[in-house]
């Protein structure tokens, strides 16, 4: 399993907006309200869907190069192309909305049979078949090469055995594809990370070059052009695209699934969350979002009938500790008891409740409690390291640390840490200041420095940068290209998205989650062991999962019900607009 460090929610904090599912809520314990969807759906209306600030939609093929892989692009593309597997809000597979109707596999985890629905059609009336899947696979395979022409390589290269772990992909008739792996893999892992990437593309229209390099160049040159996507199998077809203005899609009349009732959906560019707020207030946008710092202005929207909703992506946030080799702080952070004490000094519940006004939930490990999924170990329902300053101090004192002039000291070492945080949003500054204040009570002296997002990620991903000890403001969401939520790229020794943490037992537990097991129960048992250990070993200090705060006009319906917020990919064909509001 390959996990990827997600900064998308951090971007949300920086830019002062709630990202992703603007206007699309998930069920949660937060103070959300939902749009009543009991009235009869009616045809017509336009939905103006606000993009997160300064976001350009710039790639429209379902096979995506690394540099264009964003949730915002995905949100539009999945309206045009049905994915091989659609994930629900609880991270289970929605077979009805997937190209695959079933997947079988052998016990060894080496052979997988994908059975395709016969119902899916391209917008030109042609059926979606194995040929289209094989075309996608051939493009993926070629586009995964580091030598592929610009703008490739494919973003999923190296994730879910793609492409090098796959022995063969063959069609067994029009509606069955068989994949054989070179070595056994955990079946759930391969389905969620490998098979999920095989979104069919219209071979009859796009497969026009015999030479694959020419074909890749052809697709690469047209990927940023929405109007290239004339033949789609999703609920929508493209209408127009204007950078920094809007991207428009309209219902696909030949879509065999639930047909959209709206006239069109407009993805609106927003220069800032302030501009987006004005657009909501003046009804130029009827599906938007609020930054937590804008919650005080929410009555200006609710007074005109707008509904405020919350949506939790399947993701986590943390505070990083600089444990890179050569870091002067590594020798302190390498001690588990230090990490435990720091974790106990974090009042995540108060931050969630008071600073993020209830639109956040504390995280206690690598799997968030919201949204509810089968991946959360029930034993982790209670926080292993609850907020307790006294206990944290006692733990440090037990290991020889003493408070000298208000700072915990042991020999020549002092708990004086420079902490960077993502600047730009009041809420993130407030959270960092509360952390500083609480840690000060236990003798941990933290100096704060706000950094713009671009600087923040440059600093924390540079293993030679020792100017920071703690870093607050980044996280992950498990939204592809691999979806199976284990932490090889994050918590393992030398993980490219880690910050120097290394533990052999952790490495072994991560590796174990990639192996095949006879039953799902055994698979989950191994996964829970990894999860439990990771939660308690604290490779990062756990913070909160932040909700996207959505706003929708009173006449826009079904956005909450069909949010599928865990992956941030809503089913927009169910959205509709009532008249007379």
């Amino acid at each position: 399993m390959k996990l990827n460090k997600s900064m998308s929610v951090a971007i949300a904090m920086v830019t002062g907006t709630a990202l992703l599912l603007t206007g699309c809520g998930s069920s949660s314990a937060t103070p959300s309200t939902s749009t009543p969807s009991s009235s009869t759906p009616t045809a017509g209306g336009v939905i103006n869907f606000a993009e997160s600030p300064a976001t350009q939609l710039n790639w429209f093929l379902p096979i995506v190069p690394s540099s264009n892989d964003t949730v915002n692009n995905d949100q539009l593309v999945v309206q045009l192309y049905k994915p091989m597997l659609w994930l629900n809000n609880n991270y289970s597979i929605n077979w009805n909305s997937s190209i695959a109707k079933n997947i079988t596999y052998n016990k060894a985890g080496t052979v997988y049979h994908i059975f395709l629905h016969k119902k899916w059609l391209w917008s030109n009336g042609q059926p979606v078949t194995s040929k289209d899947v094989l075309f996608s696979w051939n493009v993926i395979k070629a586009a995964s090469s580091p030598n592929a022409p610009k703008p490739w390589p494919f973003v999923g290269a190296g994730t879910g055995e793609i492409p090098n772990g796959i022995q063969s992909v063959v069609a067994n008739g029009n509606y069955e594809v068989t994949i054989t792996l070179k070595k056994p893999a955990n079946q759930q892992w391969f389905i969620y990370n490998g098979i999920i990437q095989l979104t069919p593309m219209p071979a009859a229209v796009w497969d026009i070059h015999k030479n694959m390099t020419k074909e890749l160049t052809y697709l690469g040159e047209n990927g940023a052009n929405l109007m290239f996507d004339k033949v789609t199998d999703g609920p929508f077809v493209p209408v127009s695209a204007t950078p920094s203005q809007s991207w428009v899609i309209a219902p696909n009349k030949n879509y065999p699934g639930h047909k959209s009732l709206v006239k069109k959906i407009v993805f609106d560019y927003e220069a800032s969350s302030t501009a987006e707020f004005a657009a909501l207030k003046t009804n130029q946008v009827n599906l938007g979002y609020l930054d937590p710092s804008q919650l005080g202005s929410a009555p200006a929207l609710t007074s005109q009938g707008d509904k405020i909703t919350s949506a939790y992506p399947f993701g986590i946030f943390w505070t990083e500790m600089n444990m890179y080799k050569g870091s002067p702080y590594a020798s302190i952070f390498d001690h588990l008891y230090v990490r435990q004490a720091l974790q106990m000094g974090l009042d995540n519940a108060t931050i969630a409740k008071d600073i993020f006004k209830g639109y956040a939930t504390p995280v206690d490990g690598p799997i968030p409690t919201v949204p509810a999924t089968k991946y959360l170990d029930p034993s982790l329902a209670t926080n292993p390291y609850p907020y307790n300053i006294q206990a944290a101090m006692q733990l440090l004192e037990k290991h020889g640390w003493k408070e000298v002039n208000g700072v915990m000291t042991k020999g020549s070492q002092q708990m004086k840490f420079p902490m960077i945080y993502v600047s730009g949003a009041t809420s993130s500054t407030d959270a960092a200041e509360l952390m500083q204040s609480d840690w000060a009570k236990m003798g941990v002296d933290v100096t704060l420095a706000g950094e713009p997002f671009a600087n923040f990620i440059s600093m924390t991903s540079d293993s030679t940068n020792h100017t920071w000890a703690l870093a607050n403001g980044s996280g992950w969401d498990y939204n592809g290209p691999g979806f199976y939520p284990t932490g090889g790229q994050l918590f393992a020794t030398g993980a490219p998205s880690g910050t120097g943490f290394s533990n052999q037992e952790e490495d072994a537990l991560i590796k174990a989650t990639h192996q095949p097991y006879p039953t799902e129960q055994q698979t989950m048992s191994v996964f829970f062991k990894y999860e439990d250990y990771t939660a308690k070993i604290l490779p990062f200090l756990w913070n909160e999962n932040y909700a996207a705060i959505g706003v929708n006009a009173p006449n826009v319906h079904n956005t909450v019900k069909y949010a599928d917020a865990a992956t941030s990919l809503p089913q927009m064909q169910y959205w509709w607009v009532s008249s007379g509001n």
Partner: protein, 317 residues
């Protein structure tokens, strides 16, 4: 005159090289890694290395600069990291949007400033002059981004008369010319208001000086009407500073448009540049920088030429 223009163009070349050198160095030295931002939630060291190589960012800075200059000399400003499209295409798409609000603002502001400044000078120290001075100072000291927000609050949110952003109303089935004009009003008005205040102050001062000159007194003695004295005899001389400002104002207005376009979601050069800075899209940043650099130099040249045309005492050598 032709020799003067050619000489000025040749003198501009080292200036332009200096602009590109400093801009290129500053942009690349500034913190923030475009590869890190482009990969976003799919960052790994392998992918970062591949993309860095693909974008040519692994080469020494001087090498990157020479490649950029080489491409520039062939009319190629590079390919945007974010849009995957030629920078020239993106600039040409955005430029008309910016030009329309800037031209509307500049023309309206000049006409208005000439009128207001002249009347203020003629009725110096009157209640009109005092009120206009206060209003001018108020507008002059107000940043364009703040004024823009105020206009949105007043005309979009409170009164609901005008749209708060964009260039068309996407909820209309067929947005037409009227809709387009409605979207131009607030961004143009913002640029207009911040420009007119400064220019009116210049005009007032310049007109007051002119009205005290001998030729104005002579015109009066010859029986010319006050209208003729002010708007025919004094105006031509008073307007000289504004002609200089006209050329110099173009780059300033393009820069001012950056904030205005950000506030109004207006897809012009300013917004293109703003987004490029946020995403560290070096080719666009450099493309827009060189474009504004050229506009600045052309603006200066234009100011000199216009000054000569307006004032016969100026001789070009």
């Amino acid at each position: 005159m032709l020799k003067f223009i050619v000489r000025r163009i040749l003198q501009s070349i080292p200036t332009l090289i200096g602009i590109t050198l400093i801009s290129f160095a500053m942009i690349h030295i500034a913190p923030g890694n475009p590869v890190r931002l482009l990969l976003g939630n799919h960052y790994t060291i392998d992918r970062a290395a591949a993309l860095t190589k693909q974008l040519g960012l692994n080469k020494p800075l001087w090498d990157q600069y020479l490649i950029w200059v080489g491409n520039l000399l062939q009319g190629n400003l590079g390919i945007s990291y974010v849009y995957n499209e030629p920078v020239t295409t993106l600039i040409l798409q955005a430029m008309p949007h910016t030009l329309i609000i800037v031209v509307v603002a500049v023309v309206a502001a000049h006409l208005f400033a000439v009128f207001i400044g002249s009347v203020q000078a003629y009725y110096k120290d009157s209640w009109f002059d005092q009120v206009a001075t206060v209003v001018n100072y108020f507008l002059y000291s107000m940043p364009s981004f703040w004024l823009g927000v105020l206009l949105v609050i007043l005309f979009s949110i409170t009164l609901g008369w005008l749209p708060s952003g964009g260039i068309v109303n996407n909820q209309l089935a067929n947005p037409g010319f009227i809709d387009w004009v409605r979207h131009l009003i607030l961004p143009s008005a913002t640029l207009f208001l911040v420009s007119v205040a400064a220019w009116a102050r210049y005009m007032r001062s310049s007109m007051w000086d002119s009205l005290l000159q001998d030729y104005a007194r002579t015109a009066r003695m010859k029986g010319a009407s006050e209208f003729r004295v002010v708007f025919v005899h004094a105006l031509r001389n008073s307007i000289l500073p504004l002609i200089t400002l006209f050329g110099l104002s173009l780059p300033a207005l393009l820069s001012g448009a950056l904030f205005v376009e950000e506030i109004f979601n207006y897809p012009g050069m300013g917004l293109l540049f703003w987004d490029a800075v946020l995403s560290r899209d070096y080719p666009i940043i450099m493309g827009v920088t060189i474009f504004i650099g050229v506009i600045t130099l052309v603006g200066n040249l234009l100011a000199d030429i216009l000054y000569g045309i307006a004032d016969p005492r100026i001789q070009y050598k």
